[in-house]
Amino acid sequence: MVDRVTKKASLVYFIADNIITSLGFTTSENFQAIREGKSGIEIVKDKNIYPEPFPASLVNTKKLEEEFAKIAVKGHFTRLEKMLILSVTDALKHLDVDIRSERTGIILSTTKGNIDLLEPQKKQMREEDRLHLWKLGRVIAGYFGNPNEPVVLSNACISGVLAINIAAGLIGQGKYDNVVVTGGDIVTKFVVSGFMSFMSLSPGPCKPFDAVRDGLSLGEGAGTVILGNKGRTGENIIFKGGGSANDANHISGPSRTGEGSYIAIGSAFKEAGVTGNDMDYISAHGTATLYNDEMESIAIGRHNMENVPVNSFKGNWGHTLGAAGIVETAMMLTEMKENILLKSTGFEKPGVSIPITVIDKTKNKTLNTCLKMASGFGGTNAALVVQKN
């Protein structure tokens, strides 16, 4: 296995994707909605989740059941499993990738998986090990008949971006021809109560990078990005480089100097052979907490990218945790294909100390080389660079 590493790395292509959120069940539905400036964040009144109303972006349950009924599969699946299965199924459509092949790998990105099964009213539905993340990986891989041990990554809010970085590495070294990166998380009592105790939820829809931003909004969703060693006819987007780093500062508060994010971006740039000057666009993490957005602006500034257009999709979908890095990368790829910069929903007035260029209006721009950023609890940060080939 190791001798393969020395082999010249081949190009890694983004060949398909899917996004399932409050705004739609495909990438194009989501793109259209965001282009129209829509936000799926609403005030949720569900005492089973939290005693008081709270804003969140939820996947429509009726639509989820309808869509799942269309693929009419036997067996019992949880809400999250249905979302993940639908997401992978849609991404695989019209694609000549054999998911049953041992040359196709699966990486699952999630923070809490089926944690809703801990709730007493769901006890009957619960097989003891269904709550465990490795089992979720097995259920998804098993559904599609993939013969490989699924790789499950749980690294807080950077899981999605890191999963794509790892997938690219596995293809680059020749371990797989294709890798299906899928990820998701749902809005549960477990997670909402935790974020409430952190007092990090905004009372209204979140406002990334805005002067009056006051916290994040939670969201749920699933996403899939399929990477492969062969491009498609026409224009392709390839993976250029990735990196991760730790702030080594605090387990919940981001670094005041943006250290980990700065290192992760630098590492991705180095692998990609680019600098901040080459970036046409940045898809930031942009949670809309005071400290995260400030920290990201500092990291962007330290790489001399103040003039590079930047947005966050948290104002549209909320923070979808384990799905975030995947759905946001998929939307970045769509912007590149369409050569469009999407407005950063919720942003009105600059509110970070570094004068970064937050996209205040959807507009056309030729996009060749772009950066995705992510940061999370545990002081963890990741970045990846993609480019048109």
Binding site: S197, F198, M199, H250, I251, S252, G253
Partner: protein, 84 residues
């Protein structure tokens, strides 16, 4: 007040897992954060939970915590003022 201060010291040690401290190690007028006991932002949030759980006092804005949680004494004064 004296009694409340002693009770608070014990509750703080328990809630914040300050296992290597004894109540008598805490000076009620010494700052809890910064150079004092070296507490951090998660501890501040835990103290908010402590006030709600033990004394039924709810703090909506974490920024208010800075004054209230300056020291054990300031906490005790706040509780005395606001206890239902």
């Amino acid at each position: 007040m004296e009694e409340l201060i002693e009770q608070l010291k014990q509750q703080i040690i328990e809630q914040l897992n300050l296992e290597d401290l004894e109540p008598e190690d805490i000076d009620p007028e010494e700052p809890l954060f910064g150079n004092g006991l070296g507490l951090d932002s998660i501890d501040a949030l835990e103290l908010i939970v402590l006030l709600e759980k033990q004394y039924g006092i709810k703090i909506e804005n974490p920024k208010d915590g800075q004054k209230i949680f300056f020291s054990v004494k300031s906490m005790a004064e706040f509780i005395t003022e606001h206890k239902k």
